[in-house]
Every structure is written in structure tokens, then in C-alpha cells.
Amino acid sequence: MNEEVSLIEQEVLKDYKYGFITDIEADEAPKGLSEDTVRFISAKKNEPEWMLEWRLKAYRQWLKMKEPSWANIKYPEIDYQDIIYYSAPKQKIAPDSLDEIDPELRRTFEKLGISLNEQKRLTGVAVDAVIDSVSIGTTFKKQLGELGIIFCSMSEAVQEHPDLIKKYLSTVVPVTDNFFAALNSAVFSDGSFCYIPKGVHCPMELSTYFRINAGNTGQFERTLIVAEAGSYVSYLEGCTAPMRDENQLHAAVVELIAMDNAEIKYSTVQNWYPGDKDGRGGIYNFVTKRGICSGVNSKISWTQVETGSSITWKYPSVILKGDNSVGEFYSVAVTNHHQQADTGTKMLHIGKNTRSRIVSKGISAGVSNNSYRGLVNVSKRADNARNFSQCDSLLLGDKCGAHTFPYIEVKNNTAVVEHEATTSKIGEDQIFYCNQRGIDTETAVALIINGFAKEVMNQLPMEFAVEAQKLLAISLEGSVG
């Protein structure tokens, strides 16, 4: 036993490969948060009056709210006056064409493996690139536009499609939903907007790549996806940040709306800087993600691979309002060193014959803490609702923690709710078995981890599954000797 522990504790953290800083002049708001900050951001974005009012309302609500403390995470108090709420690289905002993007920024994204050059881009993926508080460009807009698909930055959407924004913004996550959602509503600076018209099957993956670059800065992005009746879209977000000794706040809001027979597949590969092996630095990731299956036979599927951030607090949820609608949540959350994750989902069954499926795989190493928190709620009129939940935890070493907090509330006796949970350890036996076949320990751990997470990884779009697999292995490198 002791031997196993010492083995597992050997080796050191491989460097976070996205930890570089781009040296670029930034246009920043003064530190701190007040009505003036909100007005500053709104003015920077040239927003119409209604948007500013909406923000100010959110800000005033936020002032009355308290930071939640129920999650199984510990962190020093966040000083909201010590954060810069707006930081934009000094370049022409929303350049008319992708060719006008500052070469330094273009290089930054290339270094991250994100090419903004449409010709060089893998076919089948359109990208919106967001750095700090602004989107610097969106690829394939024209091709998508021909199908009536809108894929642009949130700032642009407020200008170009105000009716859609007014109609849908904060309809799934109300401004006052929670402390971080209210904060986001007050100061959000960019994000992506996708609108898939009736009956259109979006021919390529839509993706947003979020990059935090500036120091002392928070990133507050807002994403809204609307899938009209009979449409389909698969969307992917990726995120990274430089290595810094201070903690940085990321508080995003994502809203999904699926009409009759529409399907939205939302995948996340979250790789914010996790902090160093002693727990210094890293992103505080407080995110509110929620979708509504508003129409009949609609489907929303969340897949997340969470490897980064020093703190993760997020519960991508589905409101199953339409009859026969389907909600899915597939999650792999990895915590190593001092990382803490409290993540899970809420499946709210309202319509009849609604089904939900939850597959959560938590992997903990080092002295990290990994919690699954989930709620399955079946309302009175949700006849024949079905839920299946599976929560598996894998421990590497014996100084980390895995916790499961499943909540089930059923008010209709035709519901069938199943919950399965397992906890296991990577055994020295498994590693030795691999070693005996000529496989080194590092590769053995990667094989075991990927086997454990396979059911979730299989849900990722092909283009990203391989990357995500590598990411899992890298995040845990050095956690088993």
C-alpha cells in the first residue's frame, strides 16, 4: 500500500503548454466594479440603451446577492474591486475581414492550434476567437450565412440582430439566477451567438476558442445558441490561459434553446490554467450553463472534458419542457495537484415522456478534490419521465478526494430514476500488467484513464476526441510514478 502511494507521488507536473503570454497593448477598464464600470463596458461596445439598462439592472441585483458557499470548494475571498473587467487588445475591433487581424493575435491562436485562416482550417469547423474581453474574428461566416445561419460574436449580435438578442437573452438563465450569472450579466464583454434557422442542419462544427491573456483580468463571456424547429447544430468551446501566480476569475453564462425537433450538441474542452503543483495561481471557473428543450422531441446534449482551472463550479443543465424531449450530460472532470472541481448537472423534467441521461466520470489525483453534484427533478405533470445516472470516480493515490452528491426529487409516480455510482483506484496491478506487456507506466496510465473516460470521450466530435484524449493524459502526467 505504502509502496503504491510513493510510486504514485513520484514525478513532477509537466509544464502547462498553453501558459505563454502574448505581449500586446491592451485597452483596459480601470480596476474595480461600479455602475461606471458597467457604463464603460457598454460604451466601449457602443451598445444601445436597452442593453445598458439590462446590464445596470443586473448590476443592481448583483449588489444585493451573496456569493454561494454550498459547493464543496475552498478558496480565499474574491475581491471584486481588484479585478479588471474589460481588457481588449488594441486593434480594430471586429475587423471587416479576417485578413485585418493583428498578426500577433493571429500567431497567438496559431500557437494554440487554432488557425484563423479559412484555407488552412480543418474543413468542417468554424471558429469564433475570443481573447480577453473581445472576439477578434469569426471564420466561415459567409458560407454559414448562405444557409441563414448566424454565427458571430455577441457584441456584433447586439448590433446586428437586436431583435433576436432581446427575444432570447436571459430567457434560460435569468439575470438574477445566481450570483455569478448576475455578475456576468452586468459586465459580460463578448462571447458567441449562434442562430440556426428552421430545418437547417448546420454543416460544420461551430466553435469558440476563449483565451485569457491580460493579467488581473476577469473573463465574462456570454454564449447564446438558438436552434429553430427541426434544426441541428454541434458546437464546441475550448479555453486556455497563461500561467500566472495570481488567480483569475472566469464567470461565463451559456444559454441554449432548442425548439420542436431541434437538437443542440454542446461540447466543452476546458483547459484553463490549473495553477502550479503547489496550488499557486489558476483560473476560478464559475460558470452557469443551461439549456431548454422548449419544443417537442427536442434534444440537448452537454459533453464536457474539464481538465483545467484551479476551481471549477459548473452544472450544465437541461430544462426538459417539451414532451418527449431528451437531455444528456456527459462529463469527464480531472483534478490534479490542488485543483478543486464541483461539477455536475440538473435535469428538470417538465414535459411528458422526457428522458435524461447523466454519465459523469471524475478522476482525482494529487491532493485535489473532485465532486459530482447533480439534481434530477421530475415535476408533477412529467408522466413517464426516465432518468439514468452513472457517476464513477477514479482515484490516483490516497490524498485526493472524490465525492458524489446526487439529489433526486420526484413528484410523479410514473417516473423511473436510476442512479449508479462506483469508486475505484488505479491499481498497481493494472499498471504492472501493462508494464509486463512492454508498456511504460506513463502510457499505461493514459490507457487506463482513457478507458475509464471512454463513454464520455466517444460523445466528442471526432476532430476533438483525439486532442481531448491527449489532454487527459497530459493533465495526469506525473500523478502515477
Binding site: 501493462c434 508494464n435 509486463q436 506487456r437 512492454g438
Partner: protein, 256 residues
């Protein structure tokens, strides 16, 4: 090929092997028999390099190299294979993927390019036939939910894939019915050649009806107390291990 000289080893402070001497040449099949607790599985584990076991004295040479200096994965790459008594389950990892990784890591060790998918599949098909294994079994997660017989056939399949110079079969017959033993033994026999050697570790003689050894060694209290031709196995089966114990006691009494 393998030369074990005065090997002493133990686990968690308990000494189990008390001076093993054994030489195995290419082309030979050796059987190690012995009562429970005599050190059979310990010997297999020490040779494969299981971390928990501690070598206290002696040396082991394998193909001219100091085996005890090599890590388990290098021993495997050098051609040492252990068919486990209790094969380990790895959920979500198919045997195919596992073997592809193993084959290519060993090739890398030898300075060879990774095998391409077509060649790999062809090799898999060939080896599957040896142990009467279905493709579907190789797509299932490694050993998860496998029956005892399936696990052991899978071990022999892996042996066929990795083509070791020395294969150690650790109680490969345990928990198998006679049909399963026959299938497993047939697979092993097809892999016998003048270039490789096999060390069969077993409690019972019955496996040796199918995998006929050139030499039989009796392990008792961590030492090889008797060696002989294959007939020794029958004698053991007939007279039980007690006769060995008695012989050893007598010997100890006369040479104190």
C-alpha cells in the same frame, strides 16, 4: 537463455525464495511444480519484475543481460512474457487497443517503426485462430466480465502477439475445465519453437499432459529440491507432495 543463480527473494520482509538455481536453454520447456506456498508464483513475479518483491541475493541472466537490473517493461521488450494467474481487468480498454499499444511500444524499444493497421489486423487474425478466440472478444474491455477460460485464452493470445523468447505460464490451468485447458495448451504448443523457451508453473500434473515438459522441477520452501524428466510429474501426482516433503526432511536430518 535464462540462468538463475542462487536467487533469494521475499515480500514485505518475509523471505520466500531461498536460493533458486535454474538454467533454461532455448527450445526447452521446463515445469515448476510444488505445493501451495512453496514460492512458485513468487518466482514468476520476481522474474517479471513485480515491484513489491525484493531480491535479497543471487542473480538472473536473461539473454546475456542482468535481468534484475531491467524495468518490467524492458524485460517484456527483451522477450520475457508472463501469463498471469489472475489477469487484470481494465475497463474501457479493448484487448485490441491494448495489444496495439504493447506491440508498438516493444517495436519502438527495438528501434522499429510502428506497425501499420493492416499488418496489425492480419497478425491479430492469425493469432486469434491459435487460441480459438473471436474478434468480438478482443473488442470487449480487457478481461472485464471474461470467464476464467476466456481470460486464460486471452493471455495466450497476447503471448502469441508478442512472440516472447521466454514465456512463463503462472498457474495457467487454475480454474479451468478440461476443455479450456486443452484449448489453452494447444495454443501454447503451437508457439513452441527451437528459439524460445517456456516455463510452466503449476500445482497439478494435468496441464503437463498437454504441454509436455522436457524437465520438471519441484519447488519446496523456496528451493528446487528435485529435478527430473517429465515422468517426475506423474510420480508427484501419484504420491502427492508429501513424499517430497519427507525426502527433504530425511535429507535435512542426514546433513544437518
Amino acid at each position: 537463455m535464462l540462468n538463475i543463480d542462487n536467487l533469494h527473494a521475499g515480500i514485505e520482509g518475509k523471505k520466500i525464495l531461498n536460493g533458486i538455481n535454474l538454467e533454461i536453454k532455448a527450445g526447452e520447456v521446463h515445469a515448476i511444480m510444488g505445493p501451495n506456498g512453496s514460492g512458485k508464483s513468487t518466482l514468476a513475479s520476481v522474474l517479471a519484475g513485480r515491484e513489491q518483491y525484493e531480491v535479497l541475493e543471487g542473480s538472473v541472466e536473461f539473454l546475456g543481460k542482468d535481468l534484475l537490473e531491467l524495468s518490467p517493461e524492458v524485460r517484456a521488450a527483451e522477450g520475457l512474457f508472463l501469463a498471469f494467474q489472475y489477469p487484470v481487468e481494465i475497463p474501457g480498454l479493448s484487448t485490441t487497443n491494448f495489444m496495439k499499444t504493447a506491440v508498438n511500444q516493444i517495436r519502438k524499444y527495438k528501434g522499429l517503426e510502428p506497425m501499420d493497421a493492416v499488418a496489425f489486423l492480419k497478425m491479430m487474425k492469425e493469432k486469434m485462430a491459435l487460441v480459438e478466440i473471436e474478434q468480438s472478444m478482443l473488442s470487449r474491455p480487457l478481461n472485464e466480465g471474461f470467464s476464467g477460460g476466456e481470460k486464460k485464452r486471452n493471455e495466450v493470445f497476447q503471448m502469441a502477439m508478442l512472440q516472447p523468447r521466454l514465456a512463463i505460464l503462472d498457474e495457467t490451468d487454475s480454474g479451468l475445465d478440461i476443455d479450456a485447458i486443452r484449448i489453452v495448451a494447444n495454443g501454447v504448443n503451437k508457439l513452441r519453437s527451437k528459439d524460445n523457451a517456456i516455463l510452466v508453473v503449476t500445482h497439478y500434473q494435468r496441464l503437463l499432459d498437454y504441454i509436455v515438459p522436457d524437465f520438471v522441477h519441484v519447488l519446496y520452501n523456496g528451493r528446487i529440491v528435485k529435478s527430473g524428466p517429465k515422468e517426475l510429474a506423474y510420480e508427484l501426482e501419484e504420491r502427492g507432495y508429501d513424499f517430497i516433503k519427507n525426502e527433504v526432511e530425511v535429507e535435512l536430518a542426514s546433513n544437518p
